[in-house]
């Protein structure tokens, strides 16, 4: 009897443990897809690796968007410096975010650590995991627009330098749809509400929104809060001031979002639209939606997915002004750029290689040409002439001017905040868009974790 009892218990334990282990495998798989190839490469840059000769370094980059330009830049470096090559691994966005954190935490990070600055960079700096590179990168930083470069500064020292295109959030629209509806692109909130009514009646989704991905919803609250109350409102949240979310500007922004949702501003199926498959852009270029608030990287997506539409009917403008708002309508939100930091646990040789690469290859002639060809905006001053001669002059001039004239460039809230607050923000914001909670409930929930 005892034996069978033991057997039953063990069988059950094995079955449960097996199922749990399988689930754990499933959970890890997105981040593990490139595991085999990366674990070999970062060993050379780990500290304590005394025998590192020739200053070999490593870097992890992303795929898609403008990243091929960065990959090409590393290829050029490796051709010119065969004795101090930089090993490059490419990752999908989410996989990168999961993997980089654990590798930085365990001292196994690549020499060049890519980040979006904000809360993550602050964590790295607090943990002493990235180096102060103020003196070494002075030259590079002086060429970059200050509103972008300042994001890499923590407590007065430079810990990260920008390395690719500036990514403001832009209001894209379909010119054909507006022509058919016989209305103009809205420039104020009242015009926006009027346009929503007209377009909805015509059976067109006024604003395409990738609600399933949630982060595109951030762009709405960011712009609305900035237009209504200025950048100081969110700065108070970042500074951790008590009840900072209770600012009337945030309440009004949330209320306006829910009004827009109720008026059918995003159609009735936005929660099923995912940004990672560019379904939000597809709604616009197929004429089913009129407008889309998204990052500047979508310009390339429109050209890749539907070149005919992109050359004939793709329009772009700034976010509407809000009547009575105290924020400067020239302010923009988005990602100033991606940044490079240098791992504190790398060997001195590897660090030197990485610094040489930063100073010689980031925003050099070849990279600037490649970026402009790809339709992305380098955050470097004095490019007006080159932009005017490029193929995408109209768009690039618009985006470049927008960034240069902006008094304030707000880093995406989910990047600026510590991770736990960012996640809570995304969850609550999606519930605001779904109408599951009221603006006051949002404010209370966010205040509670400040």
């Amino acid at each position: 009897m005892r034996h069978t009892r033991l057997r039953a218990v063990t069988t059950a334990a094995l079955a449960a443990a097996t199922a749990l282990t399988l689930a754990a495998c499933g959970g890890a798989s997105p981040g593990d897809s490139t595991d085999g190839s990366t674990s070999g490469s970062d060993g050379g840059s780990g500290d304590g690796d005394q025998s590192a000769v020739g200053g070999e370094a490593s870097a992890w980059i992303l795929t898609g968007g403008g990243w091929p330009v960065t990959a090409a830049s590393f290829e050029r470096w490796n051709e010119g410096n065969p004795d101090q090559t930089i090993t490059v691994e490419e990752f999908e966005n989410d996989a990168f975010k999961e993997k980089i954190r654990t590798s930085v935490g365990s001292g196994e990070a690549p020499t060049l650590i890519m980040n979006w600055t904000g809360g993550t960079l602050a964590d790295y700096v607090a943990g002493g995991q990235v180096d102060d590179i103020t003196a070494e990168t002075e030259d590079l930083v002086s060429r970059v627009m200050p509103s972008v470069a300042q994001n890499g500064v923590v407590d007065g020292a430079t810990y990260a330098v920008p390395m690719n295109d500036v990514q403001p959030v832009i209001l894209y629209y379909n010119e054909d749809v507006f022509a058919q509806a016989g209305i103009e692109v809205p420039t104020t909130w009242q015009e926006t509400l009027d346009a929503v009514a007209t377009l909805s009646d015509a059976g067109i989704i006024p604003f395409s929104l990738a609600g399933q991905s949630v982060w595109p919803e951030l762009m709405w609250i960011q712009y609305l809060t900035d237009r209504i109350g200025g950048p100081e409102v969110f700065q108070a949240v970042l500074d951790g001031e008590p009840d900072a979310w209770s600012d009337p500007a945030i309440l009004e922004a949330l209320t306006k979002i829910q009004e827009l949702v109720d008026a059918g501003g995003f159609g009735d199926a936005f929660a099923s639209v995912a940004a990672d498959q560019s379904a939000d852009a597809a709604l616009v270029h197929t004429g089913r939606a009129a407008m889309l608030l998204q990052g500047s990287w979508l310009y390339a997506t429109f050209h890749a997915d539907n070149p005919e539409f992109a050359t004939s009917a793709l329009g772009f403008t700034t976010f509407p002004t809000i009547e009575g708002g105290s924020g400067d309508p020239a302010n923009i939100v988005g990602n100033p750029a991606n940044f490079w930091s240098i791992s504190a646990s790398a060997s001195d040789e590897a660090k030197q290689t990485a610094l040489d690469y930063l100073n010689e290859f980031v925003y050099d002639e070849d990279q600037l040409t490649a970026m402009l060809d790809a339709g992305s905006v380098p955050p470097v001053a004095g490019l007006e002439d080159r932009i005017a001669q490029s193929d995408d002059a109209e768009y690039l001039e618009f985006a470049y001017g927008m960034v240069q004239d902006a008094p304030h460039f707000q880093l995406s809230w989910d990047q600026a905040l510590p991770s736990d607050q960012a996640q809570e923000l995304l969850t609550n914001l999606s519930q605001i868009f779904l109408g599951e909670i009221t603006p006051q409930q949002f404010v209370d929930a966010m205040n509670a974790i400040l």
Binding site: H3, T4, R5, L6, R7, A8, V9, T10, T11, A12, A13, L14, A15, A16, A17, T18, A19, L20, T21, L22, A23, A24, G26, G27, S29, P30, E98, R101, T102, V104, G105, D123, Y124, A126, G127, Q129, G211, Q212, D268, A269, F270, A271, S272, V273, A274, Q277, A279, A282, L283, R288, S419, D420, A422, Q423, E424, T427, S430, Q431, L434, E436
Partner: protein, 310 residues
């Protein structure tokens, strides 16, 4: 079709053999490689997670001891309570949906009808696809803007399946069921094939129709298959992660944030490894308790060699 021999089922009997060393034949040592892997890749991480559940760690710095406070905070957190409730609904509804369909399909597949093999192959197909691919495919099919509803006449199926917080969980349960029913149907098919034809012949002589044959011969004979299948189904849906993650990522809002997703999002989005470990331990405990309970209820502790393939 033969009984599915599960290697795991043989292992528990080994300690018994080990006591009686003198016996000849396969010894305890043959189970060592399997047990070593199990210890290294299941028990050791499990212990690590248990320790981590008392610590505060953001994945970057050094884990800091925080004690039971972290358990209290996590278990009283409304998000965890909601996730627990949602998981219960998910497990129960999944079971109610999967078990009968799998049983009936399995019985059908075990039959001798014409074209049965063709049908069986079709039913079997979902088992061959990767769950990530299934997730992406269903997400596209259920997309109200570009999915099935556009291909069919307008209006049909054009519901916002995965975007409506009231429907999303059930849409996910359907897809998970679609994915796992073939496996359980296969178990039942094997089970039914093991039932001696003489039992049915006797039933026919006694005047039993098809329904009565099913009720009084097939079902009782499948008893242990049902226990196996139910355990796998319940524990499987308790820990179901990949499909849900790909389909909805826990959204819209928190509508499909079941425990495994809650654990993942807490650990790898909020980087709160302590609370995530608490949820992980909770999952292990609930999963174990569920398996033990099923074993106890079904009386499989008294389970002896049977003709059913359990």
């Amino acid at each position: 079709m033969r009984t599915v021999e599960r290697p795991g089922a043989a292992a528990p009997t080994r300690p018994v053999a080990a006591v009686r060393r003198a016996r000849t034949g396969p010894t305890f040592w043959m189970a060592v490689p399997a047990l070593a892997f199990f210890a290294l890749f299941a028990l050791l991480p499990l212990g690590g997670v248990a320790v981590l559940s008392f610590m505060e760690w953001d994945g970057l710095g050094t884990p800091r001891w925080a004690g039971v406070g972290i358990w209290i905070d996590t278990l009283t957190d409304q998000a965890t309570i909601d996730a627990l409730w949602r998981t219960a609904v998910f497990v129960v509804v999944s079971y109610v949906f999967q078990a009968p369909v799998a049983l009936l399909l399995g019985v059908f597949m075990a039959g001798r009808q014409r074209y049965r093999a063709v049908w069986s192959v079709l039913y079997f197909l979902p088992l061959l696809f990767s769950s990530a691919a299934i997730g992406i495919t269903f997400r596209s099919l259920l997309d109200p803007n570009f999915g099935l509803s556009r291909a069919l006449s307008p209006g049909t199926l054009s519901t916002n399946w995965l975007g409506n917080p009231d429907l999303a969980l059930y849409a996910v349960i359907f897809v998970v069921g679609w994915c796992f029913i073939p496996f359980h149907a296969l178990l039942y098919q094997a089970g039914v094939r093991q039932i001696p034809a003489s039992l049915y012949e006797a039933a026919v002589l006694d005047g039993a129709g098809r329904v009565k044959q099913f009720r009084f011969v097939t079902l009782p004979q499948l008893r242990y298959t049902i226990v196996t299948s139910s355990t796998l189904m319940l524990v499987g849906s308790l820990t179901c992660f990949d499909l849900v993650f790909v389909l909805t990522g826990g959204g819209p809002g928190e509508a499909t944030r079941i425990l495994p997703l809650h654990m993942y999002l807490t650990g790898f989005r909020s980087y709160a490894m302590g609370p995530a470990s608490v949820i992980a331990v909770l999952l292990v405990v609930v999963g174990l308790a569920l398996s033990l309970l099923l074993n106890r209820l079904s009386g499989s502790g008294r389970m002896q060699s049977q003709q059913a393939g359990a």
